[in-house]
């Protein structure tokens, strides 16, 4: 198996390179199940947290342990944007984004009960990998549509094209699938 070596917040990992489309493979970061890396990343992100942040917002599900760990370290609450509306949600607010990598539409949903935690607040988005930015764009629009102000984006990695609108701890290239 091909891997890509990274060092993030002082922790080394060999990320497996996996094919995700006809012409593209990515180095797969998985914070789910990696307690050590998650905690190290949270520690580093806490140091880089934009000043004035009042609430963290994260898309489900891979960045959820990170958002929790960052919440513990910063004392800030966090809200999870879900990928499906749940029957128990009160007045959910949603937005559809189209992933450029997969071409598939993806829903982002905020429970109405969480909207009050975002409205009028300075929000920092927390994610694991920002690639094309389609999820990020959708999340930003969703937060702004309920009256939150996005003051920054924290990610473990940017991927593909480097971008300056994200505070990232590292950068991943895209790969060609194995012949």
């Amino acid at each position: 198996m091909r891997t890509y070596a990274v060092e993030i917040a002082g922790v080394r990992r060999e990320l497996p390179i996996v094919q995700v489309g006809e012409d593209v493979a990515v180095a797969l970061l998985n914070l789910l199940g990696d307690t050590e890396l998650t905690e190290a990343v949270a520690e580093e992100m806490a140091r880089r947290l934009p000043e004035g942040a009042e609430v963290l917002v994260t898309p489900e599900v891979k960045a959820v342990p990170l958002a929790h760990a960052l919440s513990v370290k910063t004392g800030l609450p966090y809200v999870v944007a879900r990928k499906t509306a749940k029957p128990y949600m009160q007045n959910p607010v949603s937005r559809e984004v189209v992933s450029i990598t997969t071409g598939k539409p993806q829903l982002l949903v905020l429970d109405g009960a969480d909207v009050s935690k975002i409205r009028g607040k300075k929000v920092v988005i927390v994610d694991d990998v920002v690639s094309t930015g389609s999820t990020l764009k959708g999340l930003r629009e969703l937060i702004e549509s309920v009256g939150g102000e996005v003051i920054g984006v924290l990610a473990v990695f940017t991927e593909g094209t480097p971008r300056d609108d994200v505070i990232a701890l590292g950068h991943l290239p895209l790969f060609k699938p194995e012949e």
Binding site: P16, V18, Q19, V20, G21, V26, L28, L32, G33, T35, T38, E39, E60, V61, V64, P65, A67, H68, A69, S71, V72, P77, Y78, V79, V80, R82, P87, Y88, Q90, N91, T102, G112, A113, D114, K117
Partner: protein
Amino acid sequence: MTTLETYPITVGNVTRHVPLVETLPGMRIPLVEFLGDTELVEEAARLLAEKVPEEAELLFSLECSPVPLVHRLAQLTELPYVVARKRRRAYMEDPLIQEVPSLTLGASDTLWLDRRWAERIMNRKVTLVMDVVSSGGTMKALDRLVQRAGGSVVGRLAVFQQGKREFNGEVTYLYEIPIL
């Protein structure tokens, strides 16, 4: 927007007044939400850590709401953890696929476990971790996944048991929450 009736639930030193939701006509349940509640998760993980069997080598859970809980529990017990997914991902190779008979409004779930993760379960003594157990269907699906991956289940933990079910005897839980 209607004002929701609430119900008090307590985990250790943390009390939350959670909404009562009607899942079926005439049947209301207190809706506990661990996602986004840092304090509740920290307290639950602290208490649950004492219940993890000494022989356990790995924790196993599923996305999404138990994820912060199992993360913290893994850290406290210094055990690795694995999470089953609810959707197939493009990168999964030869995943184990397990149907879950779910009570959540008749919708049935499917759990996906990438082969790479299944390999971590092989020959391991595994403790299953959930936030809320109701019928036990999800717990049974996790159980089955562990068996299929070649591991053995040495414990089944939950923060809450909702109502009284047959499966109770096999699940160690901290608190009961009623069906009203």
